[in-house]
C-alpha cells in the first residue's frame, strides 16, 4: 500500500488525468508529469452485493470521487464514508482506494 494515487498532468495545459493518456485529450500535448493526489471528495457510492460467477461474495463499497488534483476516478472504499465526505487516497498495486481522512 502506498499513500496517494498517481495522476498524469499535461505539461502544456496542466490538465490532470487518470488513467494515463498518450496524448492530452484537451490540447494533444504529448508530455506529462506525474503527480500524487492524496485527497478526494466522495460524490456517489455503491455497494457491490453480488458478483457474477462468484459464490460467498462479501459486499464491497466503491465510490466515484473528485480528486484534489482534478480528475474523477472510481475507488474502493475501505470504510463507511458517504457522499460529501473527504477521503484520503491510497494505492494497492494499480488499484485506487480511499478511506475517511484521519483527524
Amino acid at each position: 500500500m502506498s499513500a496517494g494515487i498517481t495522476i498524469w498532468r499535461c505539461a502544456n495545459c496542466r490538465a490532470g488525468f487518470f488513467p494515463e493518456p498518450l496524448l492530452c485529450p484537451r490540447c494533444h500535448g504529448k508530455k506529462f508529469e506525474t503527480n500524487r493526489v492524496h485527497e478526494a471528495v466522495v460524490e456517489e457510492i455503491s455497494v457491490i452485493r453480488h458478483m457474477i460467477g462468484q459464490e460467498n461474495w462479501q459486499p464491497r463499497r466503491i465510490a466515484s470521487v473528485l480528486t484534489s488534483g482534478g480528475p474523477r476516478m472510481t475507488v474502493g472504499l475501505r470504510d463507511e464514508s458517504g457522499p460529501g465526505a473527504t477521503i484520503e487516497l491510497f494505492e494497492e498495486g494499480t488499484a485506487p482506494f480511499g478511506r475517511a481522512k484521519a483527524k
Partner: protein, 384 residues
C-alpha cells in the same frame, strides 16, 4: 438516405440462460445465419460480405468464422464496439452495399460465455478495467452503472419505481416474444422487492446474461423477398470516445449527433412509431432517449411514469435485453434492429405496433472506465 441498400432479412437463434455442454457461440451464430438466410430467401453462396462481433471468437478472427460458415467474401469486418456493434455494423453494411462493394452483406453477433465466462470478460474488458477497477471488486458493468444511476437519480429527481416502469413495460412486451428468456409478468411490488445487486441497482435493473445470436442481411433492395416491404436506413450516425470519460455519463455519444440524425432523416422524435433503445440498464435507456430529444423538458420521471408507464410510446417491443436477455452486447444490439425491421414490415405478431412506418434504433457500449464510450443510432423506414 441510403437508396441502394435495404435490410432484407433477419434471424435469430434460440436464447437460453445456460447453454448445453458443448453448445458454443458458434453454434448459436450458425443457427442465426440459417434463420436470416431463410427469412431473406437467399442461399449462403449469395453472401458477399460479412461483419461480425462477438466476445467468443478468440483465438479465431472473422475470417475463421467465414471459413467455418463456408463463405467466400469480398468484404469482411470484425467490430469491437460492444453494445453499439450491431448499429456500427449496420452503418458499415449499408455503406458497403450502397457503394457496390458487396451486394449482400451478413451482419452477425452472438455469444455463449456462460456466467463464469462473462465474469472473465467483465473483469478484463480493457486495460483500465483490468488495472484500476477489477481489483476493487467493482462488479463489472453493474458497479459502473450503479454509480451512473446514482448521478441520474440525483440530477433528475427520479424515484426507484421510475426505473421499474421501464422493466415492467418491457416484460409485458416480452410476454409476446417467444424468444424472450423472461416472459412472466412483473409487478411493481416484485420489482421494488427484488434484491439489490449494486446499490441502487436491483435484479430487474441489470441485464441478464444469456447465450444466443442474431443475424441481419443487408442487400440491394431488388434482392428482397417478393411482396415484402423493404426497410431502408434513412439516416445513421455513430460516435466513439465522445468525451474522453471526463463527463458524468448522463449524456451519451448520441448527444454529439442527434440533431444531424434527425435532420438527415427529415424527421422529428414525434414521427417515430416504434423505438429500440439499447437497454443494458434503464439508466442508459433514459440517457439515450434524452439525448435523442424523446423526453420533453428533460423530464425523465414523467417519461418513465407516463410515456412508458401508460404505454403511450412503444419502446423495446421485443422485451428489450432486460427481459429477452443479452447474448453479449453485440447480439443484444442487433436484436433491437431486428425488432424494428419486423415492426416496419408488420411481421411482429402479437406485439405489432399498428401501422408502424418509421422506427428508431440505437446502440450503446464499451464501458471504458466510468461509462460507455461508443454509441450509434439509425432511423429506419418502411418502403412499399
Amino acid at each position: 438516405m441510403f437508396e441502394n441498400a435495404a435490410i432484407i432479412g433477419v434471424g435469430q437463434s434460440a436464447y437460453t440462460r445456460r447453454p448445453e455442454p458443448g453448445q458454443t457461440a458458434l453454434h448459436f451464430m450458425r443457427d442465426a445465419v440459417v434463420a436470416a438466410l431463410k427469412d431473406a430467401g437467399l442461399n449462403a453462396a449469395d453472401i458477399q460480405g460479412m461483419a461480425v462481433a462477438s466476445f467468443s471468437l478468440a483465438p479465431d478472427a472473422a475470417v475463421d468464422l467465414a471459413w467455418k460458415l463456408g463463405l467466400s467474401l469480398r468484404w469482411l469486418a470484425q467490430d469491437t464496439n460492444g453494445g453499439s456493434s450491431g448499429m456500427s455494423m449496420l452503418g458499415n453494411a449499408v455503406r458497403t452495399v450502397e457503394t457496390g462493394t458487396a451486394d449482400v452483406v451478413l451482419i452477425l453477433g452472438g455469444d455463449a460465455t456462460g456466467l463464469a465466462g462473462y465474469a472473465k470478460v467483465a473483469a478484463n474488458y480493457n486495460t483500465a478495467t483490468q488495472k484500476h477497477l477489477s481489483p476493487l471488486g467493482h462488479g463489472g458493468p453493474n458497479g459502473v452503472y450503479a454509480l451512473v444511476a446514482s448521478r441520474q437519480i440525483k440530477k433528475y429527481g427520479l424515484e426507484k419505481s421510475d426505473y421499474g416502469h421501464i422493466a415492467i413495460a418491457q416484460r409485458q412486451w416480452a410476454a409476446k416474444n417467444p424468444y424472450a428468456v423472461y416472459r412472466a409478468p412483473l409487478t411493481m411490488d416484485e420489482y421494488l422487492a427484488a434484491p439489490l445487486v449494486a446499490d441502487p441497482l436491483a435484479r430487474y435493473d441489470c441485464v441478464p446474461v444469456v447465450a444466443g445470436a442474431q443475424a441481419v442481411i443487408v442487400a440491394r433492395p431488388d434482392r428482397a423477398p417478393k411482396g415484402r416491404p423493404g426497410v431502408r436506413v434513412r439516416a445513421h450516425r455513430a460516435s466513439y470516445n465522445y468525451d474522453n470519460q471526463e463527463g458524468d455519463g448522463l449524456q451519451t455519444g448520441i448527444s454529439t449527433f442527434a440533431s444531424e440524425l434527425w435532420q438527415e432523416a427529415g424527421a422529428r422524435p414525434d414521427d417515430i412509431d416504434v423505438a429500440s433503445i439499447y437497454d443494458d440498464y434503464p439508466t442508459m435507456l433514459l440517457a439515450q432517449a434524452n439525448d435523442l430529444g424523446l423526453i420533453p423538458g428533460n423530464d425523465l420521471a414523467r417519461f418513465c411514469r407516463v410515456t412508458i408507464g401508460e404505454k403511450r410510446f412503444p419502446v423495446n417491443t421485443w422485451g428489450g435485453m432486460l427481459s429477452a436477455g443479452q447474448p453479449g452486447g453485440h447480439a443484444g444490439g442487433l436484436n433491437g434492429i431486428s425488432e424494428a425491421v419486423l415492426q416496419l414490415q408488420h411481421r411482429a405478431g402479437e406485439r405489432q405496433v399498428k401501422g408502424a412506418r418509421l422506427a428508431l434504433a440505437t446502440g450503446y457500449g464499451m464501458t471504458m472506465y466510468r461509462y460507455g464510450g461508443t454509441a450509434a443510432a439509425a432511423i429506419l423506414e418502411r418502403v412499399e
